[in-house]
Symmetry: C2
Subunit: 104 residues, 2 copies
Amino acid sequence: MDDVFKALADASRRSLLDRLHANNGQTLNELCDGLAMTRQAVTKHLVILEAANLVTTFRHGREKLHYLNPVPIHQIGERWIKKFERGKLTALGELKRQLEKRDE
Amino acid sequence: MDDVFKALADASRRSLLDRLHANNGQTLNELCDGLAMTRQAVTKHLVILEAANLVTTFRHGREKLHYLNPVPIHQIGERWIKKFERGKLTALGELKRQLEKRDE
DNA sequence: TTGACATGCAACCATTTGGTTGCCTATTAT
DNA sequence: ATAATAGGCAACCAAATGGTTGCATGTCAA
């Protein structure tokens, strides 16, 4: 889980996921296209995305095709984000009330 | 948005959010309690969480109370995670088919 | 078979990050 | 008034991060 959060922390990596979302199954060079980064930099990002299981690759001859794996993102939504949506927590208006309570 | 992702990338910070989720409105020292970290380290994390608007603070005398703000997390769920859930993308079984298509 | 193309590997670099220690300031309780 | 308590500030440090360049390898096409 930590891997996924770490992988998502970088804007370049999120943009790579976006690109795959728009057009799944691209090669390294296709993914590099138009980016202000070396191919090697992109490779490093993809390695991290693969390690976090956010991207799966298939070798096809001399090409490496990259596919988005939405499962980990979905899991973060389910296991983590939902937790903070439930409960609604303290509405801002209620905070003041809690503050006053501290004086009693 | 990047601030939020960056803030969530660290496990210590996520655990601070967890603690606030379990018990909202804690002071710095309360939050430090039981953690294998200096108070100053915790302060730094809280600064980052505040900057990302994930935590709001209120001064109450010499105490600083920390409150969780679930809005940015909710936004990530809405604006980002949902995007990757929709579309279902390519099921693994379909990938092979795409691979073959490359040969045509 | 030989050159071009797609990718891999490794060393190196600057900056950011997560943490520390030491000291200072403000508020509260005795 | 004074000591204890809650927190803030700043310098410093090691390790991780995001990037580079240079070269090597595997695969395809002419």
